[in-house]
């Protein structure tokens, strides 16, 4: 029997989505991966509907890379201040979190699944944006303003490949996209809401381990082109600095190499393959530390980048 084809999640009736999730039948495609998801949490269904409307889904996929669930633990916490567990094949890598954080936990769990298992790629903690087939890698420490700038540029001419995970094919250096929601934290949520009134954000969730978090839906065009890999041409470490004029500064290659190694999830797993892929990247792509305060100045600077 031929399985039903993938269809955009947003075309599913609400009841169908809830039923597929409750019965563990929902297959969600994001870039090169298929997640099979089980959850009875309404907040998960509602946020999937809001933030993954353009992603392709299927009923009971014949194959899935990751079988995940979000479910309440078998304890009194099921009812009293209910909590949820994220599980991959029944294994829970995280502590239980309050049920209102279920969708945030789902997003972090998806990141963990990929970062811990997809060793066919060199995996970096970085955002990736593309212009045509040329891509910029944005590695940065937490709180530097990476996701905020990524969200802005993804709505101002750049194609979002990923906010958190760069998937680099070590065989050819191409970077693959996921086009998943952008994770915004604390003050960045209102900044983006004010700056990008057209953007789709979910309801912020307070008191998580990262503070208040919200997720921004990827633009439909980014999802439509998610299977179009790009070639990394630039490495930019954005740093939001209040009161700062735009200030780009070249990072010496050995220093840039050290930074990328620090941001790699599986450098030790891939060994020489990872070293060669990163050194090749450093050899061809300039690494630039970019201090910025104003989005528009940063956008103009990115726009002037030459491959």
């Amino acid at each position: 029997m031929t399985p039903a084809p993938f269809a955009p999640l947003g075309t599913l009736p609400r009841e169908t989505l809830a039923r597929w999730l409750a019965q563990g039948r929902l297959g969600l495609r994001t870039g090169p991966f298929t997640f099979r998801i089980a959850s009875k949490e309404a907040i998960v269904a509602d946020n999937l509907r809001l933030l993954y409307a353009h992603h392709l889904v299927i009923d009971s996929p014949p194959f899935a890379d990751f079988h995940v669930s979000l479910e309440r633990p078998a304890s009194p916490r099921r009812w009293l201040r209910p909590q949820v567990d994220f599980r991959l094949d029944g294994y829970s890598p995280f502590l239980s979190l309050p049920a209102p954080q279920a969708f945030a936990l789902f997003e972090w769990g998806m990141n963990w699944c990929i970062a811990s298992h997809a060793h066919q790629y060199l995996l970096l903690h970085a955002a990736v944006l593309a212009r045509g087939d040329d891509a910029a890698l944005l590695p940065a420490p937490p709180g530097a303003g990476k996701s905020t700038l990524c969200a802005y540029l993804a709505h101002r001419g750049w194609r979002l490949l990923s906010d958190e995970l760069a998937l680099i094919d070590p065989a050819n250096g191409l970077v693959h996209g996921l086009a998943r929601p952008v994770n915004l934290k604390n003050a960045a949520i209102d900044v983006i809401r004010d700056t990008l009134p057209e953007a789709v954000l979910n309801t912020p969730v307070p008191d998580t381990k990262k503070g208040t978090v919200a997720h921004l839906a990827p633009p439909a065009s980014a999802v439509a082109e998610v299977d179009r890999p790009a070639r990394l041409q630039w490495i930019v470490t954005p740093r939001y600095l209040a009161g700062s004029a735009l200030h780009p500064a070249r990072i010496p290659r050995p220093e840039a190499m050290a930074m990328l190694i620090d941001n790699a999830f599986n450098y030790d797993v891939l060994g020489a393959t990872a070293f060669t892929a990163l050194a090749d990247l450093i050899s061809r792509a300039p690494a630039i530390d970019l201090c910025y305060e104003r989005f528009e100045e940063a956008r103009e600077w990115f726009g002037a980048l030459k491959a």
Partner: protein, 84 residues
């Protein structure tokens, strides 16, 4: 950019602002500044004695003659890292 390894266990990339080496035997990665990289390359040619390295570097670097202690320090680091 990628230089042939001095032996079968090292992969080396050399740039104008430094270099990176990967030791396939140990899994160690070494990131070198331009001076230490130049010392490494010189030591491979003439042997790891400070005076020989100084003399070799002095052919292309006018300041090398005055940097014997720096060369000694670089050689110590390279030896400790098992790159020499």
């Amino acid at each position: 950019m990628r230089a042939p390894p001095p032996d079968h266990s090292l992969i080396e990339f050399a740039w104008d602002d430094g270099g990176a080496l990967y030791d396939c035997s140990s899994g160690d990665t070494h990131l070198l500044d331009p001076f230490t990289l130049a010392v490494l390359h010189a030591a491979r040619q003439c042997g790891p004695t400070p005076e020989a390295v100084r003399d070799l570097l002095a052919r292309t670097d006018d300041t090398a003659a005055e940097q014997l202690s720096r060369i000694e320090s670089a050689l110590d680091q390279l030896t400790a890292a098992r790159l020499l």
